[in-house]
């Protein structure tokens, strides 16, 4: 592997470039008109323009990306996260061109991308899944029938959904019937697949995921968990590890289930098995992300491993150079995602960043994609930076995180930094006592206080 093309943008493109450079591997960036002046384009050894700003014409344009790889002589493609990273057809096309796809086999991406197939595979492998449909609910009556048999509340989901799009909690039959058609037509529009299914909704859930790594020689390791329950609109805002909620016994069972899940599909590369954990510490398989995760730095800062380096080694066919015993939680790590959005309404806030000044502190890592003068355009995800903080203890990490967020200055656009500061100061968060309802419950509480 001599030259890697990164089929992505922003902070994750820079992150991948960094490890490639350290390894002496050449890098190729691809970019749209909107991203021409961003740091990742300059930092790559070569950069190829692939089209206008909207993603279907640029970052989702598989043929333009493959053409860029061929014209620059790249022998591998790293898809990053989002965009084409979990696209089975793209992975296959890349391989057909004789280029290495840095990720699992296309069939595995396809299997895990379809939520219902994933459920069936996990059931067969003995991984616990949430009670629900085994086949798509083709009609609203079928969905209502399944819901009645498992009991409300239920989660109505699009089989092809993800990223918080295509799911809704239904507390009774009326709301299920109301949600079914709109969710279905939205799934059709977003994912080109309108298969729907119903699952039992777990009350007061925690979202905890396990990082795994599998090589091409059949070895699968887990790299411990990440606690991801702090979310807005079903999208993560803050992740940390170790999870303050898990005891050693539950952690071991959870991680072993993740290994079993990865082994069941013959997983190669790094990936993430997401679980939902209820108040009694029962856990259920939610989905598998067959790519590098946004929050992978949490695992890196906790364990000292470089996950992109692991990806490159696995893609080259090398056996994993570490064993399970080498994976230890050496530090407590927290990641804060900085979004270009209103800190109260969470509405997107594109614009020009006139001043960008991230904190410079020991044990504070910044993975970002912007700089002073950069344009944050409405075409892409609102995440502009990740702040990853670590400490000997959770307490130390939290203290350092609060200081880092006090020292982070962004002028010109609205960001969620004030919101992140409030989360870090929240008593329940500090106690580690939080569920995926945390953000909504805080919002409800503060609007009650205003009324009072």
């Amino acid at each position: 592997m001599r030259k890697v093309l990164i089929a992505n943008r922003g902070e994750i493109a820079r992150r991948i470039i960094r490890t490639c450079k350290a390894e002496g591997i050449g890098t190729v960036a691809v970019y749209s008109d909107a991203d021409r002046d961003l740091p990742f384009v300059r930092e790559a050894d070569e950069a190829v323009h692939i089209g206008p700003p909207p993603v279907p014409h640029s970052y989702l344009n598989a043929e333009a990306i493959i053409k860029a790889a061929k014209s620059t002589g790249a022998d591998a493609i790293h898809p990053g996260y989002g965009l084409l990273s979990e696209n089975e057809a793209f992975a296959r096309r890349v391989q057909e061109e004789g280029i290495v796809f840095i990720g699992p086999a296309p069939e595995v991406i396809g299997q895990m991308g379809d939520k219902l197939t994933a459920r069936r595979v996990m059931l067969a492998a003995g991984v616990p899944v949430v009670p629900g449909c085994e086949e798509p609910a083709a009609t609203v009556d079928e969905a209502a029938g399944v819901a009645a048999s498992i009991g409300y509340p239920v989660m109505l989901k699009a089989s092809a959904g993800g990223g918080g799009i295509g799911m809704q909690i239904c507390r009774d039959e009326d709301s299920l019937r109301q949600a079914y058609q709109s969710l279905r037509s939205r799934a059709k529009a977003y994912f080109g697949n309108d298969a729907m299914y119903v699952e039992k909704y777990v009350e007061r859930p925690r979202h905890i995921e396990v990082q795994i790594a599998g090589d091409q020689h059949g070895t699968v390791l887990h790299l411990l968990e990440r606690e991801c329950s702090i979310q807005r609109r079903h999208q993560k805002v803050l992740e940390e590890s170790p999870s303050p909620f898990l005891d050693a016994k539950t952690r071991e069972r959870l991680c072993q289930s993740a290994v079993r899940a990865a082994e069941a599909v013959g997983y190669t590369g790094v990936g993430t098995v997401e679980f939902i954990v209820d108040e009694d510490k029962n856990f259920y398989f939610l989905e598998m992300n067959t790519r590098l995760q946004v929050e992978h730095p949490v695992t890196e800062e906790m364990t000292g491993l470089d996950l992109v380096l692991l990806q490159l080694a696995i893609a080259k066919g090398e056996p994993l150079s570490i064993g399970q015993a080498d994976v230890q939680a050496k530090r407590h790590a927290i990641e804060l995602r900085v979004y270009a959005e209103d800190p109260v309404s969470f509405l997107p806030s594109p614009g020009t960043i006139t001043l960008y000044q991230p904190p410079e502190m020991e044990h504070v890592r910044i993975d970002d994609g912007v700089e002073s003068g950069a344009q944050v355009t409405p075409f892409y995800d609102p995440m502009i930076a990740k702040v990853i903080i670590s400490g000997q203890t959770r307490e130390e990490a939290l203290q350092r995180a609060a200081e880092a967020m006090r020292n982070f200055q962004i002028v010109g656009i609205k960001t969620n930094i004030p919101f992140l500061r409030e989360v870090l100061a929240d008593e329940r968060f500090r106690q580690g006592n939080y569920t995926t309802w945390f953000v909504q419950e805080r919002a409800a509480k503060s609007s009650n206080e205003i009324q009072a």
């Binding site: 270009a340 959005e341 509405l347 997107p348 594109p350 409405p378 075409f379």
Partner: protein, 70 residues
């Protein structure tokens, strides 16, 4: 005459009304999309839609007029 304006920069994903439609205060009239998020835009007053200023797929800036209501 009252104008309904965009509250963020983005793409017009859907136009939910036509000229001549009666709208109520708070009714969704246009859906914008920005940064992978759909944001419905509401009429601030009740009235009759007189003009649609945008088409599906148009790019609008914060403050651009989307719909006129009388």
């Amino acid at each position: 005459m009252k104008q309904v304006a965009a509250n963020m920069a983005g793409t017009v994903l859907n136009v939910l009304v036509q000229p001549g439609d009666e709208v109520t205060e708070g009714q969704d009239v246009v859906v914008l999309e920005s940064m992978k998020m759909e944001v419905p835009i509401q009429a601030e007053v009740a009235g009759t839609v007189t003009e649609i200023k945008v088409n599906i797929g148009d790019f609008v800036n914060d403050g651009d007029v989307l719909v006129s209501v009388e």
